[in-house]
């Protein structure tokens, strides 16, 4: 774990693996269930995996409340790491952060792989682009995220349960209202010049794949791959297929 101080924010960054650099931005839920995915990434890339402020157990500064703040923080991090033109992989909430980075400083990102990113709402005011997880019964909310058997919270350690509660808290902190999107992000997507590879679980009922189609059509070089047999986290439910999709995507072609 490497520690950074950037703009008054303390940041823990896990660095693992070997190969070309890849900035990996984690999603909102179930950190420990993503460990196998990150380990597989490390077989092909040198993975830089920061823990988002708040999700890391520290209270963010009072003026650090927007996903755009996280985006600026990670652009600073890329500078500190000496990565002028980086490959960035973001999943769900992490995908939202990656898009906010890309519209701010397009030239700094060489390639983007996004797994079912949040952050852009394309539907109308009556449409739920993102399922209201906190208003759904537990089994229905889990069914939005997983097509197969969802994680059994009864098997989680106390620390893992606290992490679940904290992850939900900070997803709310950054994304409660407007719900999980930045209303002006859609209009700036044309600024993203890097190739963008969208990967979506075919049975995602948290953020439906239709939103991925809309996103792909709004990006200069956008492409969408669906992963069969997966919900919102194909990297958990279909690890091999997700790794294979990433290996065939633009992040694989970015040299160190």
């Amino acid at each position: 774990m490497e520690k950074f101080e950037l703009a008054g924010v303390s940041l823990d960054v896990e660095v693992l693996g070997a190969g070309p650099p890849l900035l990996y931005l984690h999603p909102e839920h179930y950190g420990q269930l993503h460990a196998p995915f990150v380990a597989r990434l490390a077989e092909s890339w040198t993975v830089y995996a920061p823990r988002h402020p708040g999700f890391d157990g520290r209270r963010p500064p009072a003026d650090f409340r927007q996903v755009g703040d996280i985006a600026y923080l990670y652009l600073d991090l890329l500078g500190r790491l000496g990565l002028d033109s980086a490959a960035v992989l973001g999943a769900s909430f992490g995908g939202w952060v990656a898009l906010e980075m890309a519209v701010r400083e397009p030239a700094r990102l060489a390639a983007l792989s996004l797994i079912a990113p949040l952050g852009v709402k394309l539907g109308g005011r009556d449409d739920r682009d993102f399922a209201d997880l906190s208003a759904l019964p537990d089994d229905e909310a889990a069914g939005c995220l997983f097509v197969g058997t969802p994680p059994d919270l009864g098997t989680f350690t106390e620390a893992e349960l606290i992490a679940v509660a904290r992850d939900r808290q900070f997803l709310a902190y950054y994304g409660w209202k407007p719900y999980l999107h930045n209303p002006s992000l859609a209009r700036w997507l044309h600024r993203v010049t890097a190739p963008v590879h969208l990967i979506w679980g075919e049975a995602d009922r948290f953020v439906a794949p239709g939103l991925g189609e809309g996103l792909a059509s709004r990006l200069l070089a956008g492409r969408l791959d669906l992963v069969p047999g997966a919900g919102h986290y194909p990297q958990i439910e279909r690890l091999d297929a997700t790794i294979a999709a990433l290996a065939a995507g633009p992040c694989a072609g970015v040299g160190g």
Partner: protein, 384 residues
């Protein structure tokens, strides 16, 4: 000890049809406005009666629920400000972290205070967890929004020399200038609801009145003690009038009649847990260590008995609720002794928030309950 009559203006005719979930997701087609109109007038009549009986009045608000159709606490209070002459009027209260226009809160309170010629008591409440969803207020920042609203409302009510600027984290106004100014100076008394020693300490540090709601025989003393310590730490005297307690009260000519009335009113308590599980722990509303314990283990709400053991809130009997200190029930002598004992147990109570109406209790029984209480119990409480 002052006594305040409280009702949630329940729409109990819908309870059976709605089953296990009475909040948040229940369709309003269940609500018949003609029946609802009769109920509103009935409940307002019962509050108006309090003015003649020497009781004070308390209203609250909840949202999207058949348990409480007071969705805006200042609306019944505005009616009662005109309709009553003596009773003090307690809004307990205004969920100020869920009301996105804090200046509007100051305006509503100021108007009621002036119309009632200075009889308003201003409650500021955090709001129950299931209130987050109807308000769509961010639960992860709820308490910081609460305190910012609190500071802004008090400044708005006490600034009388023209507009001031407020550009805070959650509220932004460039010309705050509330008309009318309140009748009471510097502002109507401030009340807070509390449910833990931690929230009581916040009240104690500021000298506000705290109302502990149904916290019972076992939990209430620590809550009040926390207030006293915080008050002392802030150099304030924690006088008796700073402490309020909400309980269900059923009085009858006989113990049996009082218990029967309490039994009916207690459907308020029994229906409180009837909210879908996902609305109880909004993200960040409660400490993560507490929420973590409830993520997969949603045990029913339990109430501790004073001599050990506990019972399920949704099915408790009158005797269990009385034992727990959540209800006072019986003939006037019995009820007085119960309140007297509780008063001593918690170290002195300035206010009894009496839920004298709730559940399916009829208008006639409510009037009987309030009248008998005011005649036979209230005079004796004045000496406590």
């Amino acid at each position: 000890m002052k006594v305040w009559h409280f009702s949630e203006m329940a729409y109990h005719p819908g309870w059976e049809e709605l089953g296990s979930s009475l909040r948040n997701v229940v369709p309003s087609r269940v609500y018949d406005p003609e029946v609802g109109a009769d109920l509103y007038h009935r409940y307002l009549d019962e509050w108006a009666l309090c003015d003649e009986l020497g009781l004070n009045i308390m209203v609250n608000e909840h949202h999207t629920t058949a348990t409480c159709t007071t969705s805006v606490c200042t609306i019944p209070m505005a009616i009662l400000a005109r309709e009553t002459k003596k009773a003090r009027l307690l809004c307990l209260g205004m969920p100020i972290a869920n009301r996105m226009d804090a200046v509007r809160v100051a305006e509503e309170y100021a108007m009621i205070d002036v119309i009632s010629r200075g009889r308003l008591e201003m409650g500021f409440v955090k709001g129950a967890p299931f209130e987050v969803s109807p308000a769509n207020s961010n639960p992860a920042t709820l308490m910081e929004r609460f305190w910012e609203a609190h500071d802004l409302i008090l400044k708005a009510l006490t600034t009388h020399d023209g507009p001031f600027n407020w550009e805070g984290q959650h509220f932004q106004y460039r010309q705050v200038n509330v008309w009318p100014r309140p009748y009471q100076q510097p502002h109507p008394p401030v009340w807070m609801t509390v449910a833990s020693p931690g929230s009581a300490a916040e009240g104690g540090a500021r000298g506000h009145v705290i109302a502990s709601l149904n916290t019972g025989y076992l939990r209430t003393p620590d809550i009040f003690e926390s207030y006293r310590k915080a008050a002392a730490g802030a150099g304030r005297e924690a006088t008796r009038d700073r402490f309020a307690y909400l309980a269900i009260v059923g009085v009858g000519e006989t113990d049996e009649e009082g218990k029967r009335r309490a039994h009916q009113i207690l459907d308020y308590s029994r229906t409180t847990p009837r909210a879908a599980a996902q609305f109880w722990f909004p993200p960040g509303y409660t400490a993560n260590e507490v929420t973590a314990q409830k993520l997969y283990n949603r045990s029913p709400l339990m109430i501790p008995l004073r001599d050990g053991g506990e019972f399920e809130m949704q099915t408790g009997t009158v005797d269990e609720f009385v034992n727990a200190g959540v209800a006072f029930a019986g003939n006037p002598d019995t009820v007085f002794e119960q309140i007297k004992e509780f008063n001593e147990h918690v170290g002195g109570l300035g206010h009894l928030l009496m839920m004298g109406q709730g559940g399916h209790i009829s208008h006639e029984d409510t009037v009987g309950n309030l009248t008998l209480f005011s005649q036979e119990v209230l005079p004796r409480l004045a000496a406590l």
